[in-house]
Amino acid sequence: MDLETVFLTLEIMWKGMFSIFIAMLIIAGIVVILQKIPDKKENK
């Protein structure tokens, strides 16, 4: 077991999970805005 590698994976864990959460939060926030976009009205 290489302790340095273990600590590196822990660093990747917090950076990775944090990045995923931030990305998902941003996308979810944009989706909330997208929900307000209406469909194009049909020409009568």
């Binding site: 990775g16 999970m17 995923i20 996308i27 997208l34 929900q35």
Partner: protein, 376 residues
């Protein structure tokens, strides 16, 4: 008569074991219907590549020189050089996905993120077992529960265990109906599994459905540039589906392209199932680590839902968090079934589908973020 027996006498016990493993994969594919589109070609390919002096791998003949073998060529062109096979498959997968249940219920995005926890925890466990960093990441990505992502990440990181990783990823995806209920019951009570959730979906316009894949690609590209090939091609396929003017291309992507690539991908991956590379203690460890990844993906999603419930008035059924893994639609069906088993009138399917679809994005993002962190 020696020339007839030279093939048989050249087979070692390791190759016989690979013939058995190939046979087991074929059996699981046909009799048990475990991911047959991948396990059957992989099983058959395992037999092909382990026959002595097999013509499917490059061979050097006296007086002739080097002769290319088809499976080795497919691996070199389709995976080693540019990862083209898994990336093109993403176009088909993106074209198959309906993001509607997720777009109308965006809080499910969070579970698509939380349920990737098992990837990173498995990386740490693999490091404790002595694997180097690139192999740790390649093994951890089994938890993405997504075959193309697992193959792509392990290839880019030049892992020597790509065969075992692919077998583990596809096998455990097929075993989700067994693995997930076990993991969920470990961390939930019956009362929690009976929580009812209202389903009040917002309506989503066609414009929103068209803008979504473009926006996701840009955001993923800004946060993790290495994820653009994965996320970009997934979203390209989805855009083909949602734009409404390319129905024939969308149809081709979902059917012909996806089937063609799947057909070639399984047999190509078998290149890494040669006995010398596959029959070792590390392969057995990787199988165990793959199971660990799936279990802790599920537990990560469930515990996150329980954490959110501390602050929410309208509670979330924690099982829905477990649906945030990328095994679509199997995981959503498992959650629906578990919900009905606890309370026959409690239908969690649409919530679970939203989380499951979010998991598709989450897993691809996880793969890209891992590549970004390791390569930069």
């Amino acid at each position: 008569m020696e020339f007839l027996l030279s093939g048989i006498t050249a087979i070692r016990w390791e190759e016989y074991l690979m013939f058995l493993i190939g046979g087991i994969l074929i059996y699981l594919a046909i009799r048990k219907n475990y991911e047959p589109a991948l396990l059957l070609p992989m099983g058959f390919g395992a037999i092909l590549v382990n026959l002595p002096a097999t013509g499917v791998l490059n061979q050097t003949y006296e007086g002739i020189g080097n002769v290319n073998g088809i499976i080795e060529w497919l691996f070199h062109v389709g995976i080693e050089t540019s990862e083209v096979l898994p990336i093109l498959l993403f176009i088909g997968i993106g074209a198959m996905i309906d993001f509607g249940p997720l777009l109308s219920n965006p809080k499910m995005f969070l579970f698509g993120g939380a349920a990737q926890f098992g990837i990173f925890l498995t990386m740490t466990l693999a490091a404790m077992l002595g694997f180097n960093l690139n192999d740790c990441a390649s093994i951890g990505i089994i938890g993405a529960a997504d075959g193309p992502t697992s193959i792509l990440v392990s290839q880019v990181l030049k892992s020597q265990y790509i065969g075992a990783i692919a077998v583990a990823a596809y096998s455990y995806m097929a075993l989700v109906p067994i693995v997930q209920p076990f993991a969920i019951k470990l961390v939930t009570t019956k009362k929690e599994r009976m929580i009812r959730m209202q389903y009040n979906p917002a309506s989503i316009s066609k414009r929103a459905r068209i803008l979504f894949p473009i926006i996701v690609t840009v955001i993923a590209g800004l946060i993790a540039p290495s994820s653009v090939s994965l996320v970009g091609f997934l979203m390209f396929g989805n855009l083909l589906r949602e734009c409404g003017v390319l129905n024939s291309l969308s149809d081709t992507a979902q059917n012909v392209l996806a089937n063609l690539i799947t057909l070639l991908l399984g047999i190509t991956i078998s290149f890494s199932m040669k006995a010398d590379a596959f029959v070792n203690v590390q392969t057995a460890l990787i199988m165990g680590l793959g199971l660990f990844a799936f279990v802790f993906d599920t537990i990560g999603g469930v515990l996150f839902a329980k954490f959110l419930n501390l602050f929410l008035k309208n509670k979330i059924n924690p099982m829905v968090g477990g649906a945030g893994i990328s095994a679509f639609p199997m995981s959503a069906r498992v959650i629906q079934k578990m919900g009905i088993k606890e309370d026959p009138s409690n239908h969690l399917l649409m919530h679970a589908v939203g989380a499951n679809v979010a998991g598709q994005i989450g897993s691809v993002l996880a793969g890209g973020i891992i590549l970004n962190l390791l390569l930069h």
